[in-house]
């Protein structure tokens, strides 16, 4: 299991950050992602795996300012 924004989700072996975002229908590149409190740079989304037990924060931004 992993936790995404406080909600329990299945852990998928070898799933990358990009894969997780796709599975949860988040729109890249409009999100900040933290795994266990550490920011994952956008460039690394396709290469960084989400480990089992991870606490993931996906922070979505919308335009306007």
């Amino acid at each position: 299991m992993i936790t995404v924004n406080g909600n329990g989700r299945d852990h998928v072996p070898d799933e990358t950050v990009s894969g997780l975002l796709k599975r949860l229908n988040y729109i890249f590149p409009l999100v900040i992602v933290k795994i266990n409190g550490t920011v994952v740079p956008r460039d690394s989304f396709p290469s960084v795996n989400v480990p089992d037990g991870a606490t993931v924060e996906v922070i979505h931004l919308t335009s306007g300012g």
Binding site: P29, L30, V31, I32, K34, G37, V39, P41, R42, E57, I59, H60, L61, T62, S63, G64, G65
Partner: protein
Amino acid sequence: MQNSEITARLKEASVGIAGAGGLGSNVAMTLARAGVGRLVIVDMDLVEKGNLDRQCFFLDQVGMPKVEALKENIERAVEGVVVDAREVMLDEGSMDEPFRDVDIIVEALDLAETKVRLIEEVLIKLPKTPIVAASGVGGIGGSERVSLRVSGTLYLIEDPHGIPCEEGILTGPKVGLMAHWQANTVMEILLGGSCE
């Protein structure tokens, strides 16, 4: 905390503001009035007539660089605030550069992608500097949906159902609500907690 201590702490503080539009111009003005000593404001746009429904500018400033007009307005409103107005583009890879010596950064940009780039760069390159951002600025009403989300040094004022500006409208009351919520959060961080 005594009023005199609050005044002294704010006077010593410096706040960087990325963007001088609906969020940034209002954040800057209210923090200046509150007594923050130094503001570093970065924007490269000119004041347009269509901005005046929600941004802290005047009719006779249309066509001026926003940072220059905002500095002028702040200096008309209050004494003793140092306004470091920078008419430059925030370039990817060095977006943190103007803000390396400030106590807190306010994300007051327009496009979601630019917001994400700035926040990400600040979190990685300036890990000790709090950044106060806003999302869901568009639309009317929905005040009860707005909340503060804290994740490490990121403080996000968000309306999860706020309409992206590409799809909806930006109005002074909603934009001002988000801007003042950002400014209030800046005050709380600078003073080390809420004052009741």
